[in-house]
Each structure stands twice: as C-alpha cells, then as structure tokens.
C-alpha cells in the first residue's frame, strides 16, 4: 500500500458550488418522473392488505380483460428472488404463495392511464388465509411462533456472538459497572422525492432500458438480469437526477423489478410513480432496536470492558439485515480504545416492511446507547463528559480488537473544537433552569473495504477522456443523489491535472457509458471513487506531460504544470498552453481514454472472525457535537437552541459540501432524536405521510455551527475521508444528555417526544411525593 502524497489544494477554500447546481436551481434537473413519458403506460401495484397470509387465490382475469389494460404481472411471472447478499435473497418482487407484510406487492398492472390502472387493480380478485402476524421482536421470537421463513428458527435472520479480549476481567477490574436498557424507534429516510421508475422494453431489439431513483445502478442491473432472465448486455440502467437517498435506494427495490416486468410484458414503456404512502411502505430503513448495554469503567473514566446486546426488529425479509446487525456490534469499536468487548446481536423477522440501510447504517442506535451510558457513568464518577471521552482516545495508526484499521484519528481535535466553540467549560452547570448542554461523539466508515459481490475487480474505476475539443470528461458509475459526488470527481480530476474546474465534465451512472460502480453507500464514494479519479487524472497527466516534453524537447521530469500552462520548471520561458499540449498528445494516438482504479487492500478488509468484513474500512470519520436545549416542563416540549458539530473528514475536498453534509446529518439525527418515528397500527403504517412522519421543519430547526477537522488520512484522496454520515449518531445521545443536564431526567427511549418527557416528569413527581410521605411516616 502506498500512501498518497498530500496535494496542495488550489480549490478556493470556502469551496465550490455543485457542478449540477444550476440545473437544480432552475428546475431544469430531470428526476425520474420528469423524463419523457408521453407515450408511457401507467403502472400500479396491488399490495397485501394483511400482515401475514397465504395466497389462496389470485385471479387477474378481469383486470386483464379491462379495456386499456396492456399488461398484468403477478408472482407467477417472476420465480426468482432478489436481494442484497447472495446468501440472503429471500424476497420475490411480487409475493408467491405467501405475503409477509401489509403493503407487500402481489400483482401489478400497466394501463393506458391512471384511472384504468386503478380500476384494473380493483378488479383483481384476491383470497388470503390469514396467518399469525408479529409486529414486535418479542412476539416473533416467542416459543411456538409461526415461522416467517421456514428455515429460520425463532424467526431469527441472524444471531451474532462476538467476544474480543477478556471482558470478564475487564468488568472485574472496573471501579464502576453500570447496565442500562435503551430503545430506539424505527425511522425512515423520508427523502423528499417519492420512489419512481421508468422502464422501456423494445421487443424488436429485445433491449431493456431502466431509469430509476437508484443509488445502486449496478445492483439493479444484476437483479434485473436475474429476475427477468435476460442477458445483462441487453440491459441499460441510467440514473437521472435523484431526489435524495440516505439508504432508501441502496438496495434494489421491488417496484423497480416490477416496472421492468411490466414493460417487457407490455412490450413498451411503463412509468411507475409510487405515492408517498407506498414510498413509506417500501421502507428499508433503520429498524426499531432494543439495546442492553453494560460498561465497566475505572475511576479516571477509562473504559475496562463493554458488553452489548442488540435486538433489531427487521421486518419481513432479509435485505441488508445481516449487515445491519453486524455493523451494530462492529462499530462499538473504532471510536474509543476499549480493551474488551462482548456483543450479542439478534436480527428478527417480523411482519412489517423490511428494514434496510439508513445513514449511519447499523451504528446509530448502539452509539446512542453507548454515549448516553458514558455520560451517566461520568456523572456517577463526578467526571466531565469531555474528560471521559478523552480518557479513552485511540492513537493512530492502530488496529481495533476486531481488526479494523484506524489510520487517522481527529477525535481529540473534534472534542477540543466543540468544547471551545460551545463555551462548554464556562457554561456547563451554570445555565438557567430548564436549559442544558449535552455532548456525544460518533464515527463512521469511509466505504466498506470488502465489496458485497466478490469479483476480483477494482473497488472503484473512473475513466477520463480527452479529445480534440480540449474538454475533459470523467466517466463514473458513482450515483450522485444530492451528496455532490460528481462535483467531488470533477474537483479531484481538476486538482490532479492542474486545470480549471469548468474544463471538466462528469458523466455519471449510465451503464452504457460509465464504468461499473458498486454504488452510493457506506460513504464509499469520496474515498474510493475519489482515489480512482485521482489515479485516472494522474495517468492522463503523464500522457500530457510526455507530449509537452516532446514538444518542448525536455525531459518529462522537468515539466511543470501551473494553471493550464505546461512549462519547463528550470525557469526558461519555454511553455505551452493547454490546447497545444492536447494537440500534441493526440498526434499518433487520437482521442485518449485512461482508466483509474482503486482497491482496498486485503489488510483493510477486517478480521477473520465470521462477519469480520462488516465495519472494515480504510478510514473512519470522527465527530463530536454539543447540543443546547430548552425544556418546557409544563408541556414536555424540547427545543434545540443550537448545535456545535466538529467532524474529522481527513481533508475537505470541497469545504462547502462537507459543511452541508455535516449539517444535514446532524439535523437528520435530530429528527430521529426528537420527533421521527414509524408506528404501525395492526401492521399498517400509522405514519405514511409527512403529517404523521414528523421530520423537522425550518421553523424549529436550530442553527448548526460546523467545525471541519482535517487529520489527513494517509490513504484518502488528498487525505480525505467521509463527511456525511459520521455526525448523525452523535445527535440523539447529545440531546438526551442535554436533557439530563437540564432537568435531571434520563430518557431511555427515542424519539424524545413531549409525551415521553411528560411521563418521566410525572413519574418523578410521583416518586418525590412518595418519598416525602415516607419521610413523614417514618
């Protein structure tokens, strides 16, 4: 492994706007439903009305016979499962024989207009025999419960039992051991763009083009080939503008395959636009989880051991479940120095929409428990929350107990920066009644070091083209879903080449032209694709420098590129403008395409224990934040007055975008902490609208002051690591710690809604009354 030399950044320090920002602010950006669909049929899906049932009869003949209906598809049309992990694909695009959650697709139609499609759906005759349905982990795990999947005893998708170090000893030598239970509600990505897919099948050429909201075009491509039994060379997957993802679109989704099935059956184009309710039903987000956490600590705050049990209510199918339950344990590590850890994880099948990956995948709820308990133990020991964290810092480079690499580590600086910015030392304990400060730390991977599909290929590829026009085109499969990855690619290429940013054009995520990319997940793009982009740009630069050297009759080593000028660096006047160099380079070979790659080396790919690849990464981002709250003890309403967040992203390739990502992730953590929650009523979503799924509005959202910390990762592109997930997990515990600071009440459940605060306050009043009567009596 060769460490990247640090490149002196020439991008103006506040950062640059998104390269596709103008399209977005003018309304010209075309998202899936904005694509030309004048001649497209309208797709609609029939969904299960029950949580668990056997399909006794499904008769689509009346729907098929309806004038205007062009295609009808059912589970019979696709006997192939799809999913994420090759070992856990247990889901059909449309149910076969059995339905396992309310809202599961059963059949679909394509018709000439929406009314006809709706009517056709209503003409489908469906007879179901209800089976016992389980809406909590506890019910599903109870002895004798009906199994959702016959081979999964106890309705457990996966049990994980990991032990590192001697935790028994660790607890024995601790001065304080405390155990607490925490519970975090299920939340949803709630990206503002509802799900949609446009599929076009040409029966004459037998080619399929699918444009979708996907973050993972490559996986979609694979699953389309699998489920439609098509040669993958006849499929093209294109990503238009995508209105946010946060993990919602990080696995292939049922409606995408259904739309393609309909398009083929209809021999034409089908537009599937899901409603907001259906978008919620598609789900794949952060599961409800129960944590039992025990920490052992010395008097000075040093952690001696930790044990953690996590139960995740996973929903009806596998999805990313195994990965999520592994992450929840693996990412207990990598933030602090913990000498011994025991982890027990249980991923449970329930009759609810399948959970999946969501920003901070797997780490958020356990981090919440951990940071809350750390604070409570600090209080027990009379230590400052910052001091407790500082007592447990890692020292890079190092490897964690579970064999994760830590190559750069800016947590100490993050702590210093938010402590200072928030005025913590002067203010803590001195705020007026009802106000409080709380803090917490968090981290996240910069890309999973081991890809899900092992192909032996590089983990990232970027092609860079240069032709007679002097324009440089970067071709990447990486899906820009609003996080700004195309802008990052453009900057990386421009910086490396020493050319102007607007000379670069990025073409992204079209399987017909761009190299394959594994997708926008686990914050892998900046690290991996950024490195591949730099690699490609270097190769192009070598070609250009060679050409310039030939022309200037110098040695390539003597050529220097400044601005867009190539010159001999010994100070002679001889120099060539970019256009001349391009001309020279194209002589003989013509248009140039170079390919850059990046691969995470085996030593970065995690421990040898089962599941050891999950959590492995080339670099962790680190974050610390301070949250200031005010609590209205009459109504239980909590308001966040301000947030100070610091994140170590290695190096900010585009500081403006890094700030935006940190603010967005902190704020999303705030939603989960304060008001977001999915609630099922007899298996049906009580939350499937933006009135009931309460993401914060501009009115009550706080100012979020960001500090960027740069620890210069030795392997990151220009030293960069991820910036958009790491800060999320810190908000919920910082909030709960701030509430404890303000009103002396420890809340163990998320979200901290006013009714939960009121319940706790009332309980306390009752207890106080009880103790005072006891005192009187004695």
């Amino acid at each position: 492994m060769i460490a990247d030399p640090m490149i002196d950044s020439r991008i103006s320090r506040p950062g640059v706007p998104l390269i596709d920002g103008v399209e977005k602010v003018t309304g010209r950006a075309r998202y899936t439903v904005d694509l030309d669909h004048a001649d497209a049929l309208v797709g609609r899906i029939l969904r299960s009305p029950v949580g668990h049932g056997e399909i006794i009869r499904l008769d689509v003949s009346k729907a098929r016979a309806l004038d205007g209906v062009v295609a009808v598809a059912t589970g019979d049309d696709c006997p192939f499962t799809y999913g994420v992990l090759p070992v856990a694909m247990n889901e059909y695009p449309m149910a076969r024989e059995r339905v396992r959650y309310c809202g599961e697709p059963i059949a679909a139609v394509a018709a000439i207009d929406a009314e006809t499609a709706d009517r056709a759906i209503s003409l489908i005759e469906l007879e179901l025999r209800r089976l016992p349905a389980y809406y909590t982990s506890q019910e599903a795990r109870a002895p004798g419960a009906t199994l959702l999947h016959d081979n999964k005893l106890g309705n457990l998708e996966r049990e994980v039992h990991h032990e590192f170090g001697n935790w028994q000893d660790g607890f024995a030598t601790a001065d304080l051991v405390r155990e607490e239970k925490f519970s975090c509600a299920e939340v949803n990505h709630a990206q503002i763009e509802p799900h949609a897919c446009l599929a076009d099948y040409d029966p004459i050429t037998a080619r399929l083009t699918v444009q979708s909201v996907s973050q993972v075009g490559y996986y979609l491509h694979l699953m389309l080939a699998r489920c439609l039994e098509m040669d993958s060379s006849r499929i093209r997957v294109v990503k238009p503008f995508v209105g946010g993802g946060f993990g919602a679109r990080v696995e292939v989704l049922n409606f995408e395959i259904i739309t393609a099935l309909l398009a083929r059956a209809a021999a034409g184009k089908v537009l599937m636009q899901l409603s907001r309710e259906e978008t919620f039903l598609t789900h794949r987000a952060r599961p409800q989880s129960d944590m039992t956490l025990r920490i052992g600590m010395r008097r000075d705050g040093k952690i001696t051991a930790c044990s953690c049990e996590v139960v995740q209510r996973g929903g009806a199918y596998a999805g990313y479940g195994i990965v999520t339950i592994l992450y929840a344990g693996a990412l207990l590590q990598g933030l602090y120095d913990i000498p011994a850890i025991k982890y027990d994880g249980y991923r449970v099948y329930t009759n609810l929409p399948p959970c999946g990956a969501m920003r901070g995948h797997g780490s958020v709820d356990t981090r919440h428990a951990f940071e809350c308990l750390l604070d409570r133990m600090a209080r027990d020991l009379g230590l400052d929350p910052f001091a407790v964290r500082r007592a447990n810092l890692l020292h890079a480079p190092t490897r964690t107990l579970n064999d994760l690499m830590v190559n750069s580590y800016g947590l100490a600086e993050c702590l210093d920066r938010v402590e200072r910015a928030s005025g913590w030392r002067d203010r803590i304990g001195k705020l007026p009644a009802g106000k409080g400060l709380g803090m917490a730390c968090s981290h996240y991977v910069s890309g999973a070091a081991k890809p899900i599909h092992w192909t032996g290929e590089p983990h990232a590829i970027v092609n860079v083209r240069l032709d007679f026009d002097g324009g440089i085109t970067a071709l990447t499969g990486a899906a820009d879903i609003g996080q700004g990855s195309s802008t990052m690619v453009a900057i990386s290429v421009a910086e490396t080449l020493g050319v102007a940013l607007d000379r670069i054009r990025v073409i992204a995520a079209d399987s017909a032209v761009t190299p394959k990319d594994n997708g926008a997940y686990s914050s892998r793009i900046t690290f991996m694709v950024g490195n591949a982009a730099i690699d490609a740009a270097r190769k192009l630069k070598a070609i250009l420098v060679d050409a310039a050297a030939r022309k200037l009759e110098a040695r390539p080593d003597d050529i220097e590129v400044v601005g867009e000028v190539f010159r001999i660096d010994s100070g002679q006047q001889a120099s060539l403008p970019f256009a001349e160099v391009v001309k020279a380079a194209l002589v003989d070979r013509g248009a140039i395409t170079v390919s850059g790659t990046f691969t995470c080396p085996p030593e970065s790919q995690g421990g040898r224990h089962k599941g050891g690849a999950v959590g492995s990464t080339m670099g962790f981002s680190y974050a610390a934040q301070v949250v200031e709250v005010s609590i209205d003890d009459a109504t239980g309403v909590v308001s966040v007055d301000k947030v100070w967040a610091a994140l170590d992203c290695g190096h900010a390739i585009n500081p403006l975008a890094v700030e935006g990502q940190i603010q967005g992730s902190v704020w999303m953590g705030m939603g989960q902490a304060m008001c977001e929650e999915t609630r099922y009523l007899d298996g049906l979503p009580g939350h499937a609208s933006f009135l009931e799924y309460r993401m914060p509005t501009a009115a009550e959202s706080p100012p979020i002051e960001v500090q960027i910390v740069e620890s210069h990762d030795p392997f990151g592109p220009f030293g960069a690591k991820e910036a958009s997930e790491g800060a999320l997990a810190g908000f919920p515990p910082a909030l709960v710690n701030a509430i404890a600071n303000a009103i002396d009440i420890d809340i163990d459940e998320l979200p901290v809604t006013p009714d939960r605060i009121m319940d706790a306050l009332i309980q306390r009043r009752r207890q106080a009354r009880l103790t005072s009567t006891l005192k009187v009596a004695s």
Binding site: R47, G686, T697, D755, D759
Partner: protein, 327 residues
Amino acid sequence: MSTSLGELRLVQPSTVKEAVAARFEHPGSRFIAGGTDLIVNMRRGIIRSDLLVDLSGIDELTEITTDGLDVTIGAGVTLAALAHNSEIAGRYRALAQAAEAIAAPGHRVIGTVGGNLCLDTRCIYYNQSEWWRSAHAYCLKNRGDVCHVAPQGKRCHAAFAGDLAPALLVLGAEIDIASAQGVRRIPLSELYVEDGKAHLALADGELLVALHLPLNPPPSGYAKVRLRGAIDFPLAGVAVALAASGPNVNSLRIALTGTNSRPFLVAGTEPFAGRPIDEKLLHELDRLVQKQVQPMRTTIASANYRRIAAAALTRRLVKKLFAEGAA
C-alpha cells in the same frame, strides 16, 4: 395507489344565494373554500363528491367589516388575511395567534375561516388512503360500523383540530348560516356536536356566511402543542379570554380544540370571578380542564398527554394574560 381525484365538476357561483341553490340542487355536492382540507381528503378517498361548489368567487364572503356593534368576518376571509389584519391582531389577539399557528404559510394564503370552522374531524384510522382503510377494515366514520379507537362504543371519537374555533368561542362569536330558507344567526358554540362522525350542526347544503365578534372583548390569547413549529395540527389547543379587576378575575373563558370531537367552552369558569389567580385557583382550573377534555387514541401522541398538555397550556395562558392585564 392513486391519489388523484375522481370525476368531478366545479360550479362557481358569485353570490351566497346561488351557492346555496347549487348545493341544494345537487345532493352529494360540497362547498369548497380554500380546499386545503377538502382536496386532501378527496385525494385520500375519505370524502367523495362529484360536484364542488366553489366559494372563492363570492365577494361578500371575503370582507372584514366593522360597524358600531361588532366586527364581521366573512367565511371566505383567508387565514393569512385574518392574521395580518391589524384590527384583529389588536383587539382579538387569540384569533390572530390561532390563525398564525395554522398549518404553514402556503395553506394560510388559501385556507379560509369558514373552511377552518367546518374542518372535518381527524383520526389516525381515518386520515389514511383508501387502500389503508380497506385493508384495516373501514371504521364507523367512513363506510364501516366499528370504531377502532373505542370498539365498544357507538360513536366516532375523531378529534376536531381546527385552531380558530376555540379563539372565537372565548371571544363570544356568533355565526350567520345561510340556507335555502334564508339566514339564521347562532352562537358559534351551537355549531358543534360531540360526535366525530357528525360534528357540525349544519343541515345539508347550509353555508357558513360570516361570523360576528363583539367589539370590546376581554384580552385573549391562544396556544397549541404540537411536535413541530409548523404544519402540525394541535394535539391540544387552548384559547383563554380573561378580564381582571384589580388583583381578581373579573371574567374568564376557556375553550379547547384538538381533544374532543368538537371545540368547546370549558363549563364552570363563572365561579372564578372575583377570585385572585393563585395556586388554588390554578389547581382547580387544572382539574376542571382535565375533567372536561376527552382525548381518545386518535393521534399517535398518547391521549393522556393531550389531556395534561391541555391543562398545562390553560394554566400558563391564564397566568400570562393575568400578568399582562395587571401590568
């Protein structure tokens, strides 16, 4: 799952008389004012109608006028116009505060006073899509015969959650209702019935034309609890009008929304007249409110919380108004 509208016709009368006649001629038709509640409900399939009578072209509904006796507010006045009217803000603070706390600015620009007062009641088993409700089994309020909130009972407990009504109730509003027979005037409180399925005492086709407010009301205020700073309907909303004389209460009126199937004036506040605002009075008030609200499991937030919050808001508003009056 469609969320577009079914076959529909729109008629656009320019007088109250024509509007009432149009409704009368077409059973099953509906008035549409701003449409911010109606269109949402129609897209969900909980209200079905193939003809809408548009009230937005009726000029006489959009006026706010004052004569020597009272202030008249047309039913078609928008929430934004109401909130920005300086006379309203000065004299009827509860009303302006309530208007300002409704939904979000975009809704307030088109949503009207009439639509807010005639708002449908809400329930998590009701404000759902057609697919949802049919999957769950329709409930008593809509096509079914059991209430999922209180299966033993015979009535619907869906909550009225309009913000304006309690403010208007404490301010002593009366309303004009037009029908084919002419116009009648009733106290606003008589518009509402404690039944989530039929909470309005309006005969089919009756139109709310305007409301009247007495000119010299006592100081008033409105507050609501909700999870977010905008958009959300009140989990509980409280309006208070309080006149003080010296250290004592002179008159006190309290009205609530969000907790019951109707907005209502809290009964039994008369005896507070002549008493000082002390802990004892506040405690009694607390008991009074908690006794009269009947929140049920119609929202995701717990019913008990809505009860406690209603009482807490009342207490705070009373204290605040009293302090302002004394100052």
